[in-house]
């Protein structure tokens, strides 16, 4: 059993990466960029009640310094444009946490004409937190899970982004640079 686990680990990452991943997981810096209402849950997590700094997690001001991109809540189309730019500015390794129901399927903004529904079609998401809003405990649990994933070498969203770059770019263009109406002639006649 132990040998199998060891074997799996070696297939995924070398010993050097294993050591570096230990340091990476102990020092996760969040990008201080908030897309939606979810950001309101972060102050209690950062401050004295839950104290995220215990785990070496802290807010960072610019994408160049940050490790984790926290998409807090709904992302409108204009926000999506900025999110993609921000994500592409971050140096590797970089991770994305989808925060709240809105990033999973649109949440209460499902019917909105201006809010995207499936975040993982546009940027690679490593871990989702469900709930509207997620409790601070849920955020801590997600970060704990992300740390384990980093240590196991499974959190490879940035690799997927490179590998499936065409697919992501196609989806992004569908939203951001669409030509022509989505409602054809037939719909107009029915009205």
């Amino acid at each position: 059993m132990l040998n199998e686990i060891e074997q799996n680990r070696k297939e995924r990452q070398s010993a050097w990466e294993y050591v570096i991943n230990y340091f990476r997981k102990r020092s996760i810096w969040l990008l201080h960029y908030c897309t939606g209402c979810g950001a309101v849950e972060l102050p209690p997590v950062m401050t004295s009640r839950w104290d995220l700094e215990r785990f070496g997690v802290g807010p960072m001001a610019t994408p160049r310094q940050a490790d984790v991109f926290l998409v807090t809540g709904y992302a409108s189309i204009k926000t999506l444009k900025r999110m993609i730019r921000t994500y592409e500015q971050m140096p590797k390794p970089r991770w994305v946490i989808g925060f709240g129901a809105c990033t999973i399927n649109g949440g209460i903004y499902y019917k909105s004409y201006n809010v995207i529904n499936k975040l993982d079609r546009y940027i690679p998401v490593d871990i989702f937190i469900s709930g509207c809003m997620p409790r601070p405990e849920a955020i801590l649990a997600a970060l704990e899970e992300l740390r384990n994933m980093i240590q196991r070498g499974e959190a490879k969203g940035y690799d997927r982004y490179v590998k499936n770059y065409d697919w992501y770019k196609k989806n992004q263009k569908e939203i951001l640079e669409r030509e022509g109406s989505l409602f054809g002639e037939a719909d107009d006649e029915n009205k």
């Binding site: 340091f23 001001a61 160049r64």
Partner: protein, 280 residues
């Protein structure tokens, strides 16, 4: 190394002031190792040159600061050379980050340099006071003047000058209320805005070195140096703790108000101190 440890302990102190537990004391080492192992995005070779120049300038400064009376070679801790070399670090950083092309970076550097203009005047006044008393510009001799127990330390002899120097050092270390240079919520951490990976790691080491030699100067000037390296480091940590405690409860000045404040209050304190000393 000691500087990094100081920052780590400083983060715990800040956390305790804010009623948090805080990170482990070795957190800074983890951060630096992670950053050095990370992908670094660079825009121009000047960025690398600037980072190395900044680190080199600071290390060159540190060579001249006596630690518990010990120096790598017998320079005697020439105080003006130290002040001169300390600016090289900042200029290197200015050069490096200006090459990154982000408008926030020159803004932060501009603030850092104008703040430097502010704090060098009261600091020079303190030095004039000590140099006229000891007749020497050597840090080793200033420290040696104060041997012989607690009461002969300069902090007891010249308390007003110490308060002024504490304010000045607060500005030197860019701790609040003088952290206009990095101001994360205003100018997105200023000079560090485009630095990722290795550059940020080097930047953190620079910060650690800067804190180390600034506290060392303070200990030499006011706390009588140290008998051995342990008491010296302990005194340094005391100086840093005062700075961190002020930092964790203070808001931030606007840059022009900060410079005006440094030019008035600490300078006035030193002049009063000088009058007391020379007229007595």
């Amino acid at each position: 190394m000691v500087g990094l440890l100081f920052i780590g302990l400083g983060r715990i102190i800040t956390a305790r002031v804010q009623r948090r537990i805080g990170p482990p004391f070795y957190q800074q080492f983890i951060d630096v190792i992670k950053l050095l192992a990370r992908e670094s995005i660079w825009h121009h070779w000047i960025m690398t040159l600037g980072s190395i120049m900044a680190l080199g300038g600071l290390i060159a400064t540190m060579v001249h600061v006596p630690v518990a009376g010990w120096l790598p070679y017998d320079s005697g801790g020439p105080i003006f050379l130290i002040l001169y070399l300390a600016t090289i670090g900042y200029l290197g950083m200015a050069m490096g980050v200006s090459a990154s092309g982000n408008p926030n970076a020159p803004l932060g550097i501009g603030r850092a340099l104008s703040l430097m203009l502010g704090y060098e005047i009261p600091f020079a006044a303190i030095l004039i006071l000590f140099i006229s008393l000891t007749g020497s510009s050597s840090l080793t001799e200033i420290a040696a003047m104060q041997t012989g127990g607690f009461l002969s330390w300069n902090i007891v002899k010249f308390p007003l000058a110490f308060i002024a120097a504490e304010i000045t050092v607060q500005a030197m270390m860019a701790e609040k209320p003088f952290d206009q240079m990095i101001a994360p919520s205003e100018i997105a951490s200023g000079p560090l805005v485009e630095l990722g990976g290795k550059f940020l790691g080097l930047g953190m080491i620079q910060m650690a070195v800067a804190i180390y030699f600034e506290t060392a100067i303070m200990v030499n000037l006011f706390f009588g140096g140290g008998a051995n390296i342990f008491t010296f480091t302990l005194k340094q940590f005391g100086v840093y703790t005062i700075a961190i405690l002020i930092n964790s409860v203070m808001p931030r000045y606007k840059i022009e108000n900060a410079v005006r404040y440094i030019w008035t209050v600490p300078l006035a304190l030193i002049i009063i101190q000088m009058l007391i000393v020379f007229l007595r």
